[in-house]
């Protein structure tokens, strides 16, 4: 019976791969592949779950295979099945099945018909990997797929400005969530001295024993998990991305942001529940954030004048309640709540265009001018302040800009002396001296030994900040992303001696992707005399092939699970000691930013309205 779990991963994978090779014009075939894939999955899920329930619904854990093994380190794929997985499996299969059939007609004649179904299937694959994952590493593969497919769907209308801008914005929040998972993986590695499976987390004695001695690490791991979950499920302070994600075709918004994607954070919390259930302070923390979220989001929902943002905030408010339920340990109620919320919001989003005729008709018959609400009975000062705050979404949308991106930009602009050439020279000098030092440890005195990793880590961070904030040179920005990885590798080399193959795992993907990406840029520079990062250029319209290759290269340098770098990143982290918080922070920040910087380059040169011809393009505000 255990082997059957593989079907639920392999089936969407096959569906996705097949959908990639079908010609664009074959609408019928594309949609058929999609709903057949999901339909079979649904059928299999119903059968499997019935069988499983009949056999006493025992938790299943399957260790599939190791991708990479070293001393103390085993990156293995592991699948897990319990009633949480069962609920999400059914929910996902039902909704995706309905949405694929719905979209079959709804998207008829749409320019990106094929892309839409490709991305839906890709998303569905990621969703299933996450819900079946038996350890953080496996989950992280699916997690990354969800992130990138979200980006692709928000930027579905890639020839307009706002979808692309919002896609990058949402991706940046997701990236924060990703790093939460990476750090959680790093710390758990130190906590357990192995890559722990969720199955083992269910073992109370084991968890209790480890946490008793390392309660601080335990708490930090929980916080990291929570940050990831909150980012994915749009909890406070990450609420404002959800309404902004509603840029794609309505059914895609319904399934991603109305139902499945937005409940993945909830899933993570439930999945790791046994890890943190005895950390009372953490549970109080989760509950409080849930409460803050539901209150602020409810008020935001009340003042929204657009249908989709209203549904988004109502959904966030309910998810806040779900977080409270989880914190209280009410797993069953939370599961029912997830399903109900997902169905309700999906349907509401799908019928959202009907709100015009429905409400106008209603008003025509029962119009009451200026309906009073509860807030009207409050003191004016409170009422008005609350209204303004709710309308401004509690400043959460500007929060990230003010506190994270703007400081980075300001810092980046101080580095304007860096050009493509002098970076090259500078880096060569620093890097070569680094290598010499790393392989001749005798040259390094012990105090330096402590500072060198930090210096190189910081250097890497500075480089990637410059890459992220560079406004002109694409080549400079791209090369800095690569050198950032090299610096990190060097920084770790000072840290402890380990097998060189770890470097190869980490850097092989980066270097290959880096070269491929660089060639794409050169090719584009040749074709289009002018390539820059100061605005969106929309080159995908003329050079779709270069754009595709470059996107893959971006994913490669960003550590997406298509190259060994994906494992390398985790591996490199395992060499950061648990007391090197600063180094871990530098590296984590580097990883957030370099993924973002890569996607930013892709978005700026390939997406958005075509810069060459403004006639015929949509207005920027459209």
């Amino acid at each position: 019976m255990e082997w059957f779990i593989n079907v639920f991963i392999v089936l969407p994978l096959i569906g996705f791969l097949v959908s990639l090779i079908i010609p664009k014009r074959k609408e019928n075939l594309l949609s058929r592949i999609s709903f057949t894939t999901v339909g079979i999955q649904l059928f299999a899920a119903v059968g499997f779950i019935s069988f499983w329930v009949f056999n006493n619904a025992k938790v299943i854990n399957v260790k599939e295979f190791s991708i990479f093994k070293a001393k103390d380190y085993d990156f293995y794929v592991d699948f897990y099945f319990d009633r949480i997985t069962a609920t999400y499996l059914l929910l996902g299969a039902i909704l995706t099945f309905i949405i694929t059939i719905y979209s079959r007609y709804y998207l008829h004649r749409e320019e990106g018909y094929k892309r839409f179904f490709n991305v839906i299937l890709f998303f569905y694959l990621g969703f299933n990997i996450v819900i079946f994952s038996g350890n953080l590493e496996t989950m992280f593969i699916g997690w990354e797929i969800l992130g990138i497919s979200s980006f692709m769907l928000i930027a579905f209308y890639r020839d307009r400005y706002l979808p692309v801008k919002n896609a990058v914005k949402v991706f940046s929040i997701y990236r924060i969530g990703d790093v939460g998972v990476i750090l959680a993986m790093w710390l758990s590695h130190h906590l357990w001295h192995e890559n722990i499976s969720f199955y083992k987390l269910g073992n109370y004695e084991l968890v209790h024993e480890h946490l008793a001695n390392h309660s601080m690490i335990g708490f930090v791991i929980s916080i990291m998990i929570f940050i990831s979950a909150a980012a994915k499920s749009a909890q406070f302070p990450f609420c404002s991305w959800l309404p902004r994600a509603m840029e794609g075709p309505t059914p895609s918004s319904a399934i991603f942001y109305g139902s499945l994607s937005v409940h993945i954070g909830v899933f993570l919390m439930m999945r790791t529940y046994h890890f943190w259930e005895h950390q009372i302070s953490f549970r109080i923390f989760v509950g409080s954030i849930g409460l803050i979220t539901s209150l602020t989001a409810t008020f935001s929902a009340r003042v929204q004048a657009t249908v989709k943002s209203q549904i988004a905030y109502s959904s966030i408010a309910q998810i806040g309640l779900i977080f409270i339920e989880i914190a209280l340990g009410l797993e069953t109620i939370a599961l029912v709540h997830v399903a109900g919320n997902a169905f309700l919001r999906t349907y509401q989003l799908l019928v959202s265009p009907s709100v015009v005729s429905y409400k106008i008709r209603e008003q025509f018959y029962n119009y009451i001018p200026r309906r009073k609400t509860i807030e009207d009975s409050w003191p004016k000062r409170l009422e008005y302040s609350l209204y303004i705050m709710s309308l401004k979404e509690w400043n959460l949308d500007t929060f990230m800009y003010k506190n994270l991106w703007n400081p980075l930009k300001r810092f980046g602009s101080k580095l304007s002396f860096l050009t493509f050439k002098n970076v090259f020279v500078l880096f060569a000098v620093v890097f070569i001296s680094g290598i010499i030092l790393a392989y001749n440890p005798k040259l390094v005195n012990p105090t330096w030994k402590f500072y060198l990793p930090l210096i190189y880590g910081l250097l890497g961070l500075v480089m990637v900040i410059k890459a992220f904030t560079e406004r002109a040179s694409v080549r400079l920005s791209w090369s800095l992303i690569i050198t950032n990885h090299l610096s990190i590798a060097l920084a770790i080399s000072f840290n402890e001696h380990f097998d060189f193959s770890h470097h190869i795992w980490y850097l092989s993907g980066v270097l290959v992707s880096g070269i491929v990406g660089y060639l794409c840029i050169q090719r584009l520079r040749k074709l289009e005399k002018w390539v820059s990062l100061d605005q969106f250029y929309g080159h995908i319209q003329e050079h779709p092939k270069i754009a595709l290759v470059f996107l893959i290269a971006c994913l490669g340098v960003a550590g997406f699970p298509i190259t060994p770098t994906f494992i390398g990143e985790d591996l490199i982290f395992s060499h950061v000691h648990e007391n090197q918080v600063l180094l871990a922070a530098f590296i984590a920040l580097s990883l957030i930013i370099n993924g973002l910087a890569a996607i930013r380059i892709y978005a700026r040169i390939f997406l958005g309205p075509a810069s060459k011809n403004k006639i015929g393009a949509a207005k920027r505000s459209a």
Partner: protein, 837 residues
């Protein structure tokens, strides 16, 4: 505040701006109009060229698109040659230019050039800092019922409301202090703010245009609401000036936040001034080439039509008495149903006239506090007709109610009804049925209700509108209706008056699907009202005294054709005499057969329906489309419209027009002075012309003049749609409505002597402008000789079609099964429809 410069005049600038902004009303009153109405005082090609150069609209297809049409044979080479020669251009040189010469179509419009300097000189992206919060605040202020907690102070006017909020709040919309002080102390004017932001008063006007045309949708709707506050049910006071002031305040706020309070105005930083918006524009060669292509494209089709109209009518003049007569709307969607009805009963007669049937009034449904206008938009009626004894009630659906958005009510709902949603989802996909999310024209008025049509004692309602019509007023309207279409003798026992409406689900633009002559409402009430009038014995008496004798045995039946479902409903059948009722039952069967065939003809445009299936099966599928949530194309409305024929039925009865024509019945022999013709053209030019040009511009520039694809649309405050949550309102038609449309101007063909037509159109300057400036093309066909005259440069010039012969078709069913594309004009030869139901 002293005046800086006399060159800048706030009032004049605002008037200019309003003139150019989109004039689209809120969604509930979607009415077609010429998208580029602002340029209508110039000739068509001059006007669109200005629009192109100044505002950056795409106004013609791309050169490549025309070349493709030429290759596919959709542009006739002989027509093209003739057009080049008529312009006295050297033929071969210009043909080479058109067909081969490469052109760079990269152009930068004038609009936006001035404000682009924020980015180049200040490195600040002002729009991305200002737009989101600006749209959010205006959207919430104007909201008509999406939000649960409304804008708290909206009754005082926009700026006053903001001020009130700012004054009594602990937090602020603004980030900096200076602008907040301005607002609270009211020590500012539009000009003082412009001085801070722009500095140079010569640039004020251009700056405002740039600023407002960065979001024409919101600015446009505010201008519409300012001009016509009744456009909203929940009325809001706002002016365009307030919007500009508020936007300037937000801009200063953003700049202060970025640079502190010391920064120099934009105008003082510029080294060279950008080109002024309204200096005369040049015609670029690439545009000249496209204009010739466009004319050739239009005349390729028009030439066929005019040739077709010259063919002798084979169908003999009606010898025997007609079995029944049916009046339809001129709407192009009724073009084919008339053909099928005439096919089902060769002895019947059909007519076309503006679908409000010459009765103009407001309709007030039972239990409603509002009236809805059911006559052409420019008319202001003095009458109201009330509906009573309506027994049907609208269903409610919790998915649209506020409880679904509450915290605790939401908690309960998600645990319970959330699962009901799952079932609804399932049904919506696998078994679509009529539900609260659908709109259907049958709901406009309850079939069994009673209408207050007759005014006995001069009753007036609370707003001074007369309730119903007096006998005299009724007679005038019935007489006008019948005379204008030339139905003055040979009355059949039954005269159907059939309005039309449409049904759709999940459709924000539903109001654009109903009758254009009824201000975007179904024409059912009008049809019922005019039939009641026509049946009134006292009305008949007056008509008789005026020489219009309708036999006592003749009765009118009101009804409605649902154009998306292809269904018909008939009203007040109980007034029919026994023999007429029996006859009606027989007629209704013929109508049903015609509707089924009509559905099949329509289906050829729906790629997802196999048009080769039996008509009955197709009809079922067509009906299903109107209740399916996932169907963005319940029908294709006016797509492909290109013609308006004004003449007797026999004028065009034997040509196959592929549902592309508005048809208005008119008998020249009863109107040698052109009085009725004037009334007809007064409506045809703006209504059909407006529809045609809205389709035209939405098709050629779907991104700026149309609404883009409707799939990502989000409803903003029930007023309009935008993409995502912080976008500008999108005006015009969504791509799904125009994708099969060929952008041709409307050709109006009148069956009358050109001299009479010329005199007639010159009587009304506003109607004349449409023809004089070529926004609508006009031709006259001499009813006696069938000679053709085309109106050009204010004269009728003889026209000789390039086509010498048109293809003939006898099997219409085969023809419509053959392609999804537009069909050329065919001569119907002993038409065998061969439909098997």
């Amino acid at each position: 505040m002293q005046k800086e410069n006399n060159d800048f005049n706030v009032h004049r600038t605002l008037e200019e701006l309003k003139h150019y902004l989109p004039a689209q009303a809120p969604l509930k009153d979607f009415i077609h109009h010429n998208t580029l109405h602002a340029f209508q005082q110039s000739t068509f090609f001059e006007g669109i060229n200005e629009a192109h150069e100044i505002f950056g609209y795409k106004v013609l297809l791309s050169i490549d698109a025309y070349r493709k049409l030429f290759k596919e044979g959709k542009i006739n080479e002989a027509v093209l040659d003739r057009i080049i020669e008529e312009k006295e251009f050297p033929l071969q040189i210009w043909k080479d230019k058109l067909i081969k010469q490469p052109f760079l179509e990269e152009e930068i419009p004038r609009i936006g050039l001035l404000r682009a300097n924020w980015k180049s000189f200040y490195k600040i992206d002002l729009d991305s800092l200002v737009h989101p919060i600006l749209f959010r605040i205006i959207g919430s202020y104007l909201d008509q019922g999406v939000s649960i907690w409304n804008f708290p102070t909206s009754e005082m006017g926009f700026l006053q409301s903001i001020k009130e909020l700012e004054r009594n709040s602990l937090v602020s919309f603004f980030k900096t202090k200076r602008v907040k002080d301005f607002l609270i102390n009211e020590n500012f004017s539009l000009e003082s703010l412009l001085k801070i932001v722009v500095g140079d008063s010569n640039l004020y006007e251009q700056y405002i245009f740039d600023q407002q045309f960065a979001h024409p949708g919101w600015s446009g709707i505010i201008s519409v609401i300012e001009e016509n506050p009744t456009a909203l049910i929940d009325s809001k006071k706002i002016t365009l000036e307030e919007l500009i002031i508020f936007e300037l305040l937000l801009e200063i706020d953003a700049l202060d936040d970025y640079f502190g309070t010391i920064w120099s105005p934009l105008g003082l930083k510029l080294e060279t001034l950008p080109e002024q918006l309204f200096t005369p524009v040049q015609l670029k060669e690439s545009s000249a080439v496209k204009q010739i292509w466009q004319e050739a494209f239009e005349w390729t089709y028009f030439d066929q039509v005019l040739k077709g109209l010259q063919y002798p009518t084979q169908i003999a003049e009606q010898a025997k008495k007609p079995t029944f007569q049916a009046l339809f709307c001129i709407d192009d969607r009724e073009c084919s149903i008339r053909r099928y009805i005439e096919h089902e009963d060769e002895a019947c007669q059909t007519f076309g006239t503006a679908g409000f049937f010459n009765v103009e009034f407001y309709f007030q449904p039972e239990n409603s506090n509002f009236y809805t206008k059911v006559c052409p938009a420019p008319v202001t009626p003095k009458y109201v007709i009330k509906e009573i004894e309506n027994t049907s009630r609208a269903k409610t659906d919790f998915h649209f109610e506020k409880h679904a958005h509450g915290l605790l009510s939401g908690w309960i709902l998600t645990h319970t009804l959330g699962f009901w949603s799952a079932l609804r989802l399932f049904l919506a996909v696998f078994k679509p049925t009529l539900n609260a999310a659908s709109v259907t024209s049958f709901r406009h008025m309850d079939k069994h209700s009673v209408l207050s049509i007759e005014n006995m004692n001069g009753e007036v309602n609370e707003s001074g509108l007369q309730i119903g019509f007096t006998i005299e007023e009724m007679a005038n309207r019935v007489e006008g209706l019948l005379r204008s279409i030339g139905l003055i003798t040979d009355f059949a026992p039954l005269i159907y008056v059939l309005g039309h409406g449409a049904s759709s689900a999940n459709n924000t633009h539903y109001a654009g699907y109903d009758c254009g002559a009824c201000s975007g409402r179904p024409g059912s009430v009008n049809a019922r009202v005019v039939s009641h009038m026509g049946n009134h014995p006292k009305v008949r008496q007056i008509l008789k005294s005026r020489g219009l004798e309708i036999p006592v045995s003749t009765q009118f039946i009101g009804g409605m054709h649902d154009t998306s479902r292809d269904e018909m409903v008939y009203y007040d059948l109980k007034v029919l005499s026994d023999s007429n009722f029996k006859q009606h039952i027989l007629n209704a069967k013929k109508f049903e057969a015609a509707l089924i065939s009509n559905a099949k003809e329509r289906s050829r445009r729906f790629v997802l329906i196999n048009s080769k299936k039996s008509a009955l099966k197709i009809h079922k599928k067509v009906k299903l489309r109107t209740v399916s949530l996932f169907e963005p194309r319940p029908e294709l409305n006016h797509a492909t419209n290109a013609l308006a024929l004004v003449g007797r039925r026999n004028f065009s009865k034997n040509i196959f027009l592929d549902r592309r024509s508005f048809l208005n019945s008119f008998d020249y022999s009863t109107d040698m002075e052109g009085d009725f013709l004037l009334t007809i053209l007064n409506a045809v030019a703006p209504v059909c012309g407006g529809i045609n040009l809205e389709y035209y511009f939405s098709r050629v520039d779907n991104n700026k003049l149309g609404a883009g694809t409707k799939l990502p649309h989000n409803v903003m405050g029930l007023l309009g749609v935008a993409n995502g949550i912080d976008g500008d309102l999108r005006t015009g038609l969504p791509s799904q409505m125009i994708e099969v449309h060929d952008p041709l101007r409307l050709l109006v063909v009148v069956e009358h002597f050109p001299s009479v037509v010329l005199k007639t159109i010159q009587r009304n300057p506003s109607t004349y402008e449409w023809f004089k400036n070529d926004w609508v093309k006009l031709a006259a066909v001499n009813p006696e000789t069938k000679e053709i005259y085309v109106f050009s440069e204010e004269k009728f010039i003889p026209y000789f079609p390039v086509n010498k012969k048109l293809p003939e078709v006898s099997d219409v069913e085969k023809l419509i099964e053959s392609t999804h594309d537009n069909l050329p004009v065919y001569i119907l030869k002993d038409a065998n429809y061969g439909m098997v139901h």
